[in-house]
């Protein structure tokens, strides 16, 4: 029995490769790409004080290593725009009378606005801001312990003021589940026809490749929309997930995302021979989606190669759309790029699968 299994396993190169490939990939991703300690958060600064003291606070903040100052903005509107658009994860506001307050012995107050739609990034931003504030305060008050604390950095978690886990997990879950089920459902649908012999009978007919592939995509597209709606409704009922932006926009973007994943599933079906292989490939695909898309770990904290890999995943862009529409309430002006990229993914993947799909049984 053992001997038979060993022989069969050796013949099944694909399963063997998967069994070795999945742990190797996991190890590499977790080892190199994933940083639970989040550093280098893109941060914008609004310095209304323009004083040595305000610049000192910024430099202390930078020295924590948690923040990369990417831009100096000149208004609150600009700052809000960067965070809404996802260009920055945090924004420091130093008010006009910051220096004056310190001089007069009052507690000066700077504000750290944090994009709490991204959980790990926001907690890193909060702890970093608190540390920076305390460090600067200690220098200023010096040995004088009688004095009230000279400054504080107040944290404002935007979009998720209660810092509830469900608020950022549920939108991400929509994307991850859609991606996994759409890819699996299509690749299995084609491979099952091949296994049962119905594909041979079908491709000997004059049916053209485009109708064959569209015929496979359209029913699953509807299933995808139903699935998305169910999670949205459950998220709203059970976890109070808000819908701050336009649902119509979310569904339009969802259309492109679902089609992209269906196209990917079709493409995978041309690479595998059995339903089991299709499942294995599907799970292999799931891994980078969970780890590199920004679903659990912020992409800004990842090394460059992991970020490149993440930018090849449709989910990365759809996550921005989900969090943007549901939590931030932003519109097409901030999300058009994501929409464009998702559309390109959809067109490219479906076209590629039509080209690769061959009406032969070799």
């Amino acid at each position: 029995m053992l001997w038979k299994e060993a022989v069969q396993l050796r013949r099944d190169r694909f399963t063997l490769a998967m069994m070795l490939g999945i742990p190797a990939m996991q190890l590499i991703l977790f080892g190199y790409a994933i940083r639970t300690e989040v550093r280098h958060l893109p941060t914008v600064v609004l310095d209304e004080s323009h004083t040595p003291e305000s610049r000192a606070l910024v430099s202390v903040l930078r020295n924590t290593g948690n923040f990369d100052i990417t831009e100096w903005v000149s208004s609150r509107a600009e700052l809000a725009d960067r965070i809404e658009g996802g260009k920055a994860s945090a924004g420091l506001v130093i008010p006009r009378d910051y220096m004056r307050d310190i001089k007069r012995g009052r507690t000066a107050s700077a504000q750290m606005i944090v994009d709490a739609a991204d959980p790990m990034a926001s907690s890193a931003a909060m702890s970093g801001a608190a540390r920076a504030g305390a460090a600067r305060a200690a220098i200023l008050s010096g040995a004088d312990s009688r004095r009230s604390t000279p400054l504080e950095v107040r944290v404002r978690p935007w979009y998720n003021p209660g810092m509830r886990d469900a608020v950022y997990i549920v939108p991400g879950i929509i994307g991850v589940l859609l991606s996994l089920t759409m890819v699996l459902i299509t690749s299995i649908a084609i491979v099952r026809e091949r296994e049962r012999g119905t594909l041979e009978q079908l491709i000997v007919t004059p049916i053209d490749k485009t109708s064959l592939i569209l015929g496979k995509i359209v029913p699953f597209l509807i299933i995808g929309f139903v699935q998305m709606s169910v999670i949205l409704v459950l998220g709203w009922l059970l976890f109070d997930i808000p819908v701050r932006g336009s649902l119509a926009l979310l569904y339009v973007m969802g259309f492109a995302f679902i089609v992209a994943n269906l196209g990917l599933g079709l493409l995978m079906s041309t690479l595998v021979r059995s339903q089991l292989q299709a499942m294995q490939l599907g799970f292999l695909f799931l891994l980078p989606n969970i780890l590199l898309s920004g679903f659990m770990f912020p992409r800004s904290a990842m090394p460059a190669p992991a970020q490149w890999l993440g930018s090849a995943l449709p989910l990365t862009y759809f996550l921005d759309v989900l969090r943007g529409v549901l939590l931030k309430g932003v519109g097409l002006d901030h999300l058009w790029q994501e929409g464009l990229i998702l559309t390109l993914f959809a067109i490219a993947l479906v076209t590629l699968s039509v080209i690769r799909f061959s009406k032969t049984i070799e």
Partner: protein
Amino acid sequence: MTAVSGRTDAVLVQGLRKVFGSRVAVEKLDLTIHTGEVLGLLGPNGSGKTTTIRMLCGLMTPTAGSATVVGHDVIAHPEQVRRRIGYMSQRFGLYDDLTVAENMRFYASVYGLRGEVRRRRIAEQLNELGLVERAGQLAGTMSGGWKQRLALACATAHHPAMLFLDEPTAGVDPASRRLLWQWIYGLARQGTTILVTTHYMDEAERCERLAFLSRGHLIAVGTVGEVLTQFAQPTIEDVFIELQRRDEGAVV
């Protein structure tokens, strides 16, 4: 086909070859099938019958050689060929989870039949093949003989000029076999060219001409009488066994 090639040959094969990795499945095959004839393709398992049929249907690309089927080049214009042929694979290739009528409806649509034309054609075929009472039955729940009737119906929904039948009667009871052959002859009388493979020698003897394949080579073609004379054997079964014996002898 007369329209394109100016011949009355449904199939014209020249130097057809198919190689899988290091294994040669079909080698230097030359074969002509006349329009309207029933040609039996015989040979032991693995002799290249299925590969030949698959190449003629455009399901596999030949490694070398050319094949014209119903007037169209299979390699250059497979879709033209597919429109005018019907094909029944060895394995039941219809949907187990669709009913008889649903399978027929689907295949009629795939072959371009619409609306009233399709409805009438399905009714006609249900009648001809005795499937009326089973129209609502799931295909997967039927026995072998009934499945083959359904497969024949689906493969001929569009009145193909040529029909490829790969072991249509394997695993079918004698009564159903006889019925299937009645339909096959019915189609031939209407002018359909038929290429059929079989392991039943009584079926082989009913074909107008026979072609014997062995290890991918065509080793004999002719009418039943011609083949019997050529090999000086009393029956086709004896010819078959004799050919197989020679073939195996050639290796030793």
